[in-house]
Each structure stands twice: as C-alpha cells, then as structure tokens.
C-alpha cells in the first residue's frame, strides 16, 4: 500500500519528461473539441489546421525546424478546457495556445492564459466579452458586436418592426442577443418577447408555443445548428408560421439536413469574406487535394488562417517566449490578407468584418438577394 504513491509519482515524472517538447521542434498547443457535443466541428478544425501545418512545414517550417500542434481534448466542456489549458501550461510549457471553440469555453480559459502571459488565439469565438480578455488574447473571428448590428439592420431592412427574440443560454447567445436588442431598439424596433433556450435539448415545444402565442411576423433565433434544426422542425410540426431570422452559428448545410423542409426560407447574417481572392482560391484548391471527399468545414478557413499567421509570427519572433511571440504576432497580422480577409488586430486583439446575409432556398444555403 505504501509503495503505490511512490510508483505513481515515478510514472508521472517519466511521462512528464517524455512530454516536454523536443528541442528541435516548435510546438503550439491547441484545445480542441475532439469529443463531446462539438466533436463534429472539432474534427473539421483539426483538418483545416493540419492543412495549413503541412504547408508551413513544406516551406521549411519555422526557420528550419518543423512546427507541431499538440492537441488536448476538452470534451466540448469549459471544465475540461480549464484542465487542458492548465496541463498545456504547466506540463508542456507552451507559450502559444489555440483556444477552444464555443465562447463559454474560451471565456473560461482566457483569464488563466492572461494570468500566465500565455498567448491565446481563437478562430471561432464570437462573444463580445472576449474583447476584454486581455492583451495576450487574440481572435481571428469577428466579435458579435458587429454581428448584432448586422442582424438588427437585416430585421429593419426587411421591414420588421416587432420581433420575438430567443437565444441560446450561453455566453455567445446571451451576448449576441443583447447586442441585437440594443441595436434593434435604437433603430426603432420593438422586442415583443425575449427568452433564452437551453443547449442540447431534444424538445423545444414549450419555447415554440411561447413564440406562437404572439403570432409574430418574424422571430429572431440566435442558436446553434442542432438546436436550430430541432426548433425549426418542431415549429413546422406545430404549425408556427413566421419569418425566422438566424445568426452565423446556424449557417450550415447540416441545418438543412436535419430540419429538411422546415428550414426553407430562413434568413440570416454571417461574416463574409470574398470567395474571389487568390488566397481563397488557393485554399479551396489545396483543400480539395488533401481532402477530396470532404466539404470545407464551418470555421475551416479561420483555423487555416490562424495557423499561418502564427507560423509567420513564430518565424519573425526573436525567441520562443510569449512576450516576443506576442510582439511578432501583432506585427505579422498588420495588413495580413488571409483567406478570411484582413486580419489586422485592433488594440484589443480583435479583427474587423463585413456582414452578409444568407438564406435557405430549395434546400441549399445561398446568399440572400432580396
């Protein structure tokens, strides 16, 4: 009985030694949802990151040394994201970490990253609160401050003066809902009813009945793909007829796949980037070559850009410490035209964006042209 702890300690020491980054590699950490409810996205992120990584290493890596990404699975939860980042910082001692998807997960770890002066970069996190995370936190995905405005403009431009608002009960949904409301009301609109709905439920009929009670001409639903699909489907079945206005997180072929006919006619906003640029065309080409059977995953382009910008910063950085890498990162992003557009960081580590409109027509997601 007494020997057990000693043996355990030895094992841990050995494993830690084995895990320290090899001297001739440049390692970046990544907290990725490889299991749990976001796993289906996590797989796509990994593929996009690997695509960029291959290109980096084909071009002599980081000044001759290969670049490697060390993945930690966060099981799609904030709790495990916290354990993951603590492990990456204490055990693997990595100065740069790609943060987890889902704003709540990201917000849970950003104080830890900032505290330890570890660079945290996000490719998917939209919550407005992330702007305040600190000077070691950056993101390549635009803040919802912008999307809320875009969504409000959309509602107004379509002629809806009164809407029912519902959003998913987490940082992203609540934040975006707030921004939408502020902008919509400022533009003269009125929110008839407002409530949140929980993630991951299989039955949203109570929420739908609540919307139905008001018979609104339009309902703003800021939610994810699965929840959105379930709500659309159950609305269809209970006979709720209204114009659905949704956000960027629902924009996916999977929404149409799950909701079928119920998704027809939905209109939404999303941060656009031109598909005509040489960067985009190049991305599409190399993606098709490496993954011929797979469609480009949601946020794939952002993850691709993230790896490339990080590589550029690592190459230019004076050393492997986070302070130097940080300075190099800001420099590297100035005027950087990635697949997703201009990635210059503002003073809060955020990027800008242009918002476009999407819709579902004849079962396909296309740009909305009124």
């Amino acid at each position: 009985m007494k020997r057990l702890p000693a043996v355990a300690v030895c094992l841990v020491v050995l494993l830690c030694a084995a895990l320290a980054p090899a001297a001739d590699e440049v390692v970046v950490g990544s907290i990725t949802p490889l299991s749990g409810k976001l796993a289906v996205y996590g797989e796509g992120f990994q593929q996009a990151m690997l695509l960029a990584l291959d290109e980096v290493n084909a071009a002599e890596g980081i000044n001759g040394k290969p670049m490697r990404i060390h993945y930690e699975d966060n099981n799609s939860t904030a709790k495990d994201s916290v354990s993951a980042i603590q492990k990456l910082i204490t055990v693997n001692k990595l100065p740069v970490i790609f943060g987890p998807a889902a704003s709540s997960n990201f917000l849970a770890v950003c104080p830890i990253a900032q505290e330890n002066k570890t660079i945290l970069i996000g490719a998917e996190s939209a919550a407005a609160d992330i702007t305040k995370c600190g000077d070691y936190v950056f993101r390549l995905f635009p803040s919802d401050e912008l999307q809320g405005k875009g969504a409000a403009e959309l509602a107004v431009s379509l002629g809806y003066k009164e809407v029912v608002l519902t959003y998913i009960n987490n940082d992203w949904g609540v934040g975006l809902g707030r921004v939408f409301k502020d902008n919509f009301v400022k533009a003269g609109g009125k929110i008839i009813d407002e409530f949140s709905h929980d993630e991951g439920k299989t039955d949203y009929r109570t929420e739908i009945l609540r919307i139905k009670k008001h018979s609104p001409r339009a309902a703003v639903n800021l939610t994810y793909i699965k929840e959105g699909a379930t709500m659309l489907k159950q609305s269809y079945e209970t006979g709720l007829k209204t114009q659905w206005l949704m956000g960027s997180a629902s924009k996916s072929p999977k929404l149409v796949e799950l909701a079928g006919e119920a998704a027809e006619g939905v209109i939404g906003t999303y941060p656009t980037f031109s598909q005509e640029t040489p960067q985009y065309k190049h991305f599409k080409e190399v993606w098709a070559k490496k993954y011929p059977e797979k469609k480009v995953p949601v946020f794939g382009e952002y993850n691709y850009d993230m790896v490339h910008i990080t590589a550029k910063a690592l190459r230019a950085s004076k050393s492997y410490t986070s302070q130097d890498i940080r300075a190099a990162l800001i420099e590297a992003a100035k005027g950087y035209m990635g697949v997703t557009g201009d990635k210059t960081f503002d003073e809060n580590g955020d990027v800008g964006a242009v918002y476009g409109k999407w819709t579902v027509k004849a079962g396909i997601i296309t740009d909305y042209r009124p």
Partner: protein, 280 residues
C-alpha cells in the same frame, strides 16, 4: 395541454414498468432508465440495416435480453444483501450502460431522421403524427397490461407477488416465472417508450436517466407498486410539466418531477393516486 397528455401517456408506460419492478422486487432499479435509452439506440442501429418498422423488434428483444442479464448476474445474486448494496449496484450498472451507449454512439444528439411533417389539426389543436402514434401505442400497451393483470393466471400471480412476496411463494406461485415476466414486461415498455420518445424528439445518452426520474415521480404519486396509480401519476406529470412552464422558465421543466418527488416523500409517501390498494 394535449402535449401534456401525450407526454404523460409515455411517462405512464415507464412508470408502470418501474412500479411492477418495485412491487415485486422491492428495490429501485436505477438501471431501468438505461433500458429506455438502449431500446431507442438499438433501433437506430438496426434501422441502418433493415427498415425502421422491422428494426423495432430486434431492438426491443435485445433490450429485454439486457434486462434479463442484469437480473441473472447482478440482481439475483444480490437479493439477499442489504438494500444499499442493491442500490449502489444498480447505480453502477446504470452508469456502465449509459457510458456503453456513449462509447458506441457518441455523446451527440442523434436522430431517426424522419421528415418533418405538418401536424394534423383537430378542433383547433395541432398534433403531430408521431404524437398520435405515441398516444395510441401507449394506450395499446397499457390496455394489454390491464388485460394481463385482470384476466390471466400470470396477472393474478403478479398481483399476489406485489402484495406480498413471502405469501406468494408460500402459496406456491412460481416466483421464477413471475420475476422473468416482470423484467420482460417492464423492459418492453421501457424500450418502446424510449423508441416513441426518440421518434418524437431525438436520442441522447442522458435520455434514460432523465425519464427515469420522471417515472419515479409518477410511481411515487401513485404509491409504489400500484399500477393504476403509476398510470395516473405519469399522466399527471406530463400535464403538470406542460402547464407549469407557462408560469416559470422552460429550464425548470424537469424540476417539476424532482420537486414532486421531494414533496410526495415528505408529505404523502403512500401516494396521492393510490386508489385501490395494491395492483388491481
């Protein structure tokens, strides 16, 4: 309100199965919830190979097999031990089965993938086709059980056993047959109810335990071991849930069952719908 009755009918299915188990075995089977989930998931698996309608049968059969295996290897050997041992074993079994589900099918939401269809409208109320199917199925199953209990030898044996295990044994009723019948019936109910719920909404790993707690509340409402009480209890909970969310946040929908459990246990542990003592 209609949503409530239909949901309640399915809860009644679960509750009846659970109360049969409690009535005869006198312990709370946490793993019962997983029978609900496995019934649904197995149907999903089989429906990839054979048409959905046919897939239900092997799925339910396998679920029954799971229940019987539980009985043979875990519950029967432990029957003589203290209550807490059985309880912990059933908790462990439920955790094992639930994670087995996650291993095979992942933690994500799954769906049978039926097309969305406009509901039918009767007298100003909209019901979806699946809801109608659910209700009919529940009625048929419950009717079957009623007939079984009322008219067959097995049924009389079940009622006797629920009343008093010792007496039933003394009188010479074949306990082995009774026990097996109880597991089979409750497993069939659980699995079918699970499939029905999955058709209506979706599948996810927690669906077992979530519905189990509601079934418990129903069982307690009706008085443990009382089949009609469980039925009424299930309906009551379905209706209460749907009406209740008009008053407070939809997030608390599940809380109704929990609060009911606590309230009943504290104030009227013999049940509120405990009409007619024992199973009649």
């Amino acid at each position: 309100m209609t949503n409530g009755i239909i949901a309640g009918a399915v809860y009644a299915l679960f509750a009846v199965g659970l109360t049969l188990v409690y009535g005869v075995f006198r312990f709370i089977n946490f793993a019962h919830g997983e029978l609900i989930a496995w019934g649904a998931y197995l149907t999903l698996a089989f429906s990839a190979l054979i048409p959905f309608g046919a897939a239900i049968f092997p799925a339910v059969a396998l679920t029954v097999l799971i229940a019987l295996t539980q009985e043979r290897y875990v519950y029967a050997p432990l029957r003589k031990k203290t209550g807490i041992t059985l309880l912990i074993a059933s908790i462990g079994l439920s955790y094992f089965l639930r994670n087995g589900l996650r291993l095979l099918w992942g933690s994500d939401l799954q769906s049978f993938g039926f097309e969305a269809a406009r509901g039918l409208v009767f007298f100003g109320i909209t019901v979806s086709r699946t809801q109608i199917a659910m209700f009919l199925a529940a009625v048929i199953f419950l009717g079957f059980v009623w007939g079984l209990l009322r008219f067959t030898m097995l049924g009389k044996g079940l009622r006797a056993a629920a009343d008093s295990l010792e007496l039933a044994e003394i009188v010479g009723i074949d306990m082995k047959k009774i026990r097996r019948a109880v597991w089979i019936i409750s497993a069939v109910f659980a699995a079918s109810g699970g499939i029905l719920i999955a058709i209506d909404t979706n599948l996810e790993p927690m669906m077992g335990i979530a519905n189990l707690l509601k079934a418990f509340a129903a069982v307690l409402l009706g008085g443990a071991g009382n089949v009609w009480g469980a039925l009424l209890g299930g309906l009551f909970i379905g209706i209460a849930e749907n009406l209740g969310v008009a008053f407070f946040s939809p997030g608390y929908k599940d809380a109704i069952s929990f609060a009911l459990i606590i309230a009943i246990l504290l104030f009227k542990p013999t049940g509120i719908f405990a009409i007619m003592k024992g199973m009649r």
